[in-house]
Amino acid sequence: MQPTAVPSNDGSDIALLPGQVSGVFTTARPTFGAAVDDFLNRRPVYEQPLEFPHNIHVGKEIACEVCHEGVDKGPKAGIPGLRTCMICHEAIATDRPRIQQITAMRDKGLDLAWQRVYGFSNDDHVRFNHAPHIRNKVECATCHGNVGEQTIAQRNVEHTMGFCVNCHNERKASIDCLTCHF
C-alpha cells in the first residue's frame, strides 16, 4: 500500500466530510446514494495510509494506552500520529521498509491520515465518552472485538443503541436519553 499524506498542520483538510462541497461546511449528504448508504448503515471501505499491525505491537505487550492516550482521560481515545510512532521507531526496526517509509514522511514534515473505523454519523446524535467505561473496567474488546489480533483495525462490533443500553441496564449505568444524545 502507498502511504497517502496530508500536511500535518492543516486541520481543514482532515476535517472535511467525504464528498463534501468545498467552500462551505454542511452536514448535508453530498448525493442521494450517500444518504441511502447511511440509512442502510453501509460504510465506505477506507484505505488506511499504512498497514499498521496491531497484532505485532500488542504481541510485544505494548498497552493500548501508549498509543490511544486519551482513552482513560476523556471522550476520545485518540489515534497516534507519526510523532508517537517515532518515539519507538527512531530506534526499533529501522531496517524494515515500512518503518523507513514513515521515517521519510516524518523528515518531510508529513503525517499519516488515518481513516476512522468506528464512529457515529452526525444524525445519530451520539456523544460517547471512553473514560467512564475504562474507569468501570469495561474491556476494550467488549466494544472493539479482537483488535489486538488484527493488523489494521476492523469494525467487527456494531455499536447499536441496543448494544449500549443492554449493558447500561445490566451495570446500572444511566439510560436517560440525555446520557448519550445531545
Binding site: 481543514s12 452536514t27 471522550p75 436517560d176 440525555l178
Partner: protein
Amino acid sequence: MARWGMAADLDRCNGCGACVVACHSENNISTVGDEQASRGRAKHWIRVERYWEGDFPDVRLKFRPVMCQQCDNAPCEPVCPTYASHHTEDGLNAQVYNRCIGTRYCANACPYNARFFDFFNPSWDKPLQLQLNPDVSLREVGVMEKCTFCVQRIRGAQLQARTEDRALRDGEIQPACVQGCAAKALVFGDLEDPESHVSRLARSPRGSKLLEDVGTQPAVTYLARATQV
C-alpha cells in the same frame, strides 16, 4: 436528584448580548442569513428582549434575556407524538433529535417562543467548521432544537465529580450564557439544594416567573429591576 434552574437578575443585565454569542458558539447554532431570518427562521436559543417604558424624555430601557424556561409543566411535551420532547428526572426539558420528526407542534405550544425549527441543514463557511464544539451534535434539517441548559456541561461536570468521588459543587456547572455574562446577571444551579445561589435568588421577593399564570412552572426566575435609572 438535582433539579436544574436559573435566575436572571434584570438589575444586572445591560443587554450586551454576550450570552447570545456564547450560546451560539457553545451549541453550534448555525445562522440562516438575513433573508430567512426576516421570515422568522433565525435560531437563537437565548435572546435579549428590549422594552422601552414611559414617554420621551422620561424613557427607561429594560432588557430581559429569554431562553427555554425548562418548565416543570411544559406545554411542549404532551403535544409531541414521538416523545422527542420529554422530561428528564433532573427536571430538564429534553429534546431527543433522533426521535424528532419535525411536526413543530411543540414550537406552537411553547408560550415563550423558545423552540426553533431547522429549515436547513446547518452550514458554515470554511474554515469556520473548525470552531464547532465536538461535545454538541449538529442538528440536521427537519428537527426542532432549543436551549438545553448546556446539558453537555451538566453531564461533563457530573462525570468529573463522580471520577473524583465527590459531590458537585454549587456554581461548578456554568452554561455558556452564564459563563459569558460579564455582569453576572445569570446564575445557574440546583433548585433542590436550598442553599445554592440559584435557590436563594429564586426565593427573592424581587423574583417572578415569565407568564406565571399560564401554569407552566418555569425553572427560570427573573429578578425585577429595583434601581431607577
